[in-house]
């Protein structure tokens, strides 16, 4: 019996058009529409990137939009606060016993250290007055602007936060940002890198573009540069000569401007950066290999202090 090829050919050789629902565009026009929409949005994104990257033409729009978003961010923060507190409470409860004994021991050690430090500070002030010593600017030469962190880093490679203070509070690019502390001044957080009227962007010390001239408190002649270690939570104290003595546990602070160079340091002298967590030397390296554990926990910075030079105000 001969095969009926006509039917088979008819099925294979043609496509069957399903009935389109009324009101829907035809396939061809919808494909064109799809291409136009996505192409247009991609081009618009590229235009935005170009304008935003090359000029400050969109800064006003961005500032207004960021300010408009602020009430929503505050609302979201307040709504989430009880849940966050609950998480923190449970987390604290599990660590309470071990943390309590650790903190008691640390407290006793710090009380002893405080007595020594206070007498050293008193002696230092007296000697500076006697010698009429003119040193690099310290934190006392700055006004402090307290600001809340409104937006946290959004990805592992994003090492910046948004704060709720801007040019209206006399903030400017390169202002130094530190963490608040119960005793007054906390550790170094970073610098202001972009400023709008009521918001500013702070680049953290853990960003690979941050470099700070620093010194060891115990061995003040051990000078170097603190920068990110690319692992997120550890810093590198680099360019420290092998002849200088740096030990594990030493406190690293900002050194301020050394001498009268043409490029003064952005950072005033004496802000604590962290403590030395690892130190080694090798013949292959001209300098010591030093890792620094930052004083600030960059994963949970919720408020900051911006140091604004007094002469600006």
């Amino acid at each position: 019996m001969p095969r009926n090829r006509t039917v088979r050919l008819a099925v294979l050789g043609s496509s069957v058009q399903r009935t389109a629902a009324s009101g829907y565009p035809s396939n061809r026009s919808s494909a064109l529409k799809r291409r136009i929409v996505v192409g247009g949005l991609v081009v618009l994104s590229l235009v935005l990137i170009t304008i935003s990257f090359r000029s400050s033409a969109l800064d006003g729009v961005e500032s207004t939009a960021a300010t408009a978003l602020r009430p929503f961010e505050v609302a979201a923060d307040r709504v989430s606060a009880p849940f966050r507190d609950a998480v923190d409470w449970f987390h604290g409860l599990t660590n309470a016993r071990s943390e309590n004994s650790r903190l008691k021991a640390e407290n006793a050690q710090l009380r002893h250290q405080l007595v020594l430090d206070q007498s050293a500070v008193y002696q230092n002030v007296q000697l500076q007055n006697l010698l009429h010593y003119q040193g690099p600017p310290s934190i006392a030469a700055f006004n402090r602007v307290n600001a809340e962190v409104t937006v946290n880093p959004q990805s592992p490679i994003d090492q910046s936060v948004t704060i709720a203070a801007g040019s209206a509070q006399k903030l400017a690019v390169n202002d130094v940002v530190i963490a608040p502390n119960a005793g007054g001044v906390g550790g170094l957080v970073g610098t202001v890198t972009r400023v709008w009227s009521h918001v500013a962007r702070v680049t953290l010390l853990t960003d690979s573009s941050s470099h700070v001239s620093a010194a060891d408190v115990t061995s003040p002649s051990a000078l170097g540069i603190v920068s990110s270690a690319d692992s997120g939570d550890v810093l590198i104290f680099d360019r420290v000569s092998k002849s200088k003595r740096v030990e594990r546990g030493d406190t690293i602070i900002t050194s301020g401007t050394i001498g009268k160079g043409a490029l003064p340091s952005l950072y005033p002298k004496g802000i604590v950066i962290g403590t030395v967590s690892y130190q080694s030397e090798s013949d292959a390296n001209a300098f010591q290999t030093i890792q620094v554990q930052p004083l600030v926990d960059f994963s949970s910075v919720r408020s900051v202090i911006v140091l604004v030079p007094k002469d600006k105000g």
Binding site: V11, L12, S15, V16, Q17, R18, A21, Y24, P25, N27, S30, K33, R34, V37, V38, L41, V42, L44, S45, L46, L48, I49, T50, S52, F53, L58, E62, A65, A66, L69, F72, E73, A76, D77, S80, R84, V151, N152, P153, Q154, S155, P156, I157, D158, Q159, S160, T162, R194, V199, A200, R201, D207, S208, S209, D230, S231, G232, S299, S300, R302
Partner: protein, 170 residues
Amino acid sequence: MDGAKAALVLFVAALLQLVVLTQYVTFRSGSIVLVTLLSIALLRGSVFGAVAGFFTGLLIDTATLGTLGVTSLLLTVGGFWIGRYGETTARDRFHAPFLSVAVVTVLYAFGNLALRFVLGEPAPARLVVHGLWSGLLVNLILTLPVYALVRRLFPPGEISDRVREVRLLG
């Protein structure tokens, strides 16, 4: 109506991501915004996904005071691509949202890295690779509840752009 619903859902997801979740380091690798957007795109198609991605990216770029357009570009492409997958191959397959989220999470991370590199911003690839596994895990965990919620809000079967022409074989 769908547009307003999507705008509201993505706005809430963006606020949750920007203000609440990123206070915890674990959630900085993942992104509830990405998962929500992909779920919507999967259910509403490529054009919807691309437009939603563009405006969500703009919102995030504005809130983080970053370079405008970077996140928009990545989310537009991601939303479009997964929307197209939803219109054609994915249909009602159970694994579709998980597969979409996994693939786009990886591509988004490397796309973000590449854009930062091109713009001359710090782009440590090591951090991206380190955070990729935790990001993938967080996003996949988020996918189940987020997709279920989005599916309730955007019931399937209303994609106007699904392929209506089929070729019969045999």
